[in-house]
Amino acid sequence: MAEVNLRKVVKRYDEVEAVRGIDLDIADHEFVVLVGPSGCGKSTTLRMIAGLEDISDGDIMIGGDVVNDVPPKDRDIAMVFQNYALYPHMTVAENMSFGLRLKRYPKAEIKARVDEAARMLDISELIDRKPKQLSGGQRQRVAMGRAIVRNPKVFLFDEPLSNLDAKLRVQMRIEIKKVHQKVRTTTVYVTHDQVEAMTLADRVVVMNHGRIEQIGTPTELYHSPATRFVASFIGSPAMNFIPCQIEDAGGKPQIRLSDRIAFPLPAARAARYQKIPRTDKLLLGIRPEHVTEASAHAESGVEPFDAVLDVTEPMGMETLVYFPLHGAQVCGRVNPNAGAQDGAPMRLAMDLNNMHLLNEVTGAVL
């Protein structure tokens, strides 16, 4: 068990910088998820921690020791790959014990460890099968078992659930969380799926273009994203961005969305946005769950408006409604009984207590 620290880690391929100076401190026992779109450098970062890629600059420390030049086998890490990378000619037990056998552990201990890991993952009865005879979910468990028996300082997961179907992915997600609760090994987990990131992580690291956009707990990222990228990447359906401007109407700041629609800023927010130049092009960021059907009694900060719906998507427990607003397509979540219909006008309300305001040019959240 150990903490992992990255200090200004850079990875260059010839001319291209895949990772552009990453600083990250992962505490002991922590479960950290690196998330971002493909090509953001998250996998490269993980592979540098594993020692599968050389680092071009900076330092990586595992358990306080700099491991820049330490070969993977001496870093005391275990890795789970996207395609499982099970040795096809070995049985489940042999797959799981390969590392221990290479290190010449006593047979009895190997057996004890394999049995324990197999029990933990509920694959005891598969122990003598070859990978070919296993289903995708079972292979995934074996790959995790192979990591667990090593009892390493750090677990590294490289998009381990991407090859599974949606249902199995949910199930394995829970499984991974349970395993982590049991073994408490420091874990770095890479995924492009923000749902996986939110559900698994103690802390999420959002990456884009080889840089860290934001580090925080899932709730922090969801409720106070630092950049437009994080705001749009986290949450599904994604946050709406509506072009807007701040103007003063009778001494009170208000936010203008279109010629017809302008809302007064909620009192709590007014002070925060006071200093913004009135000429700046801004974006109103608002999550779909804060665009709902208008209710009969008014609440402070919840502003009703009229919209003509383009499309509605009944999801069962809610209905997603899409409508145009000042050139942007906006998504809202309304009660299925609210009577939303394709092409029909509807009275909606925006909860500005949960609004975000972004600079359209820099993407910074103000």
């Binding site: 594993a50 086998k73 275990a78 890795m79 996207q82 395609n83 990378a85 040795y87």
Partner: protein, 303 residues
Amino acid sequence: MTTITIDKAGPTRKTKYGSMSRDRAWALRWSYFFLVIFAIFFLTPPIYMLITSLKTSAEISAATNPWWVFHPTLDNYIALLTSNQFLRFFWNSAIVSIFVVSITMLISVPAAFALSRMRFWGSTVLGTGVFLTYLIPETLLFIPLFKMFVVIGDWTGIQLINRWYVLLFIYPTLTVPFCTWIMIGYFASIPKELDEAAIIDGASWFQTLTRIFIPVALPGLIAATIFAFTVSWAQFLYPLVFTTSTDQLVMPVGIITTLIKGDVFNWGQIMTGALLGAAPPLIIYAFLMDYYIAGLTAGATKG
């Protein structure tokens, strides 16, 4: 074509299906008909070998139906299998082939591993070079090679010409490039994550090769082994050039140079010898056909 025009007249779906299966049945019958004809063409020589090998010299020179054995006998087989000379040829062939297969595998498997997984200076050039070498036929090199070994003999006093073991130096030029090439193909098809997993599990490069790559690419290894064996067993030009004494000859050359004595052709024994010479590759083929074919097609479909 005619059946198709007829079905167009038939309006219902049912007849259409019926005539389609009738079409297919005819296509099938024609396929079998031609396959039988080709099989006869392809199998006549080996079958004729077998027929002749079961005949006495008297029956061969009698003007009877050559396609039938009237008085079958195993005399030819007994004569050859008790002849020290013939057994010597067989032994020479066997020992040369086994050594060549071992040498080939020892050279080509590590080289293929290095070329498919570990980049080093000039490795891509070498990969292409290996394939080009495979395209160089033995008929281009036999004269300079012969002269080279004569010169080596003159300089060092180590006489290699007319010794069966000179073939152990020569044959690998035929087997190694192709075996390396197909092993590169097989190794390249192993996912990269598999060796990364092995490295994280603590395996060295050598252990990754022996404990992961070789077992996983075993079918390729078998195909390459079969190829190396059949090539060295069947090679005719090099032993013809490099060996002359009867105790140094391998099977194909031995049969041709000793059983054909001047104008006297003892065809019963020649055919028996040819059949026995063809037996090891045929037996391997019969048991490992899929590997044999995989190796054959690998050259063009892999890499």
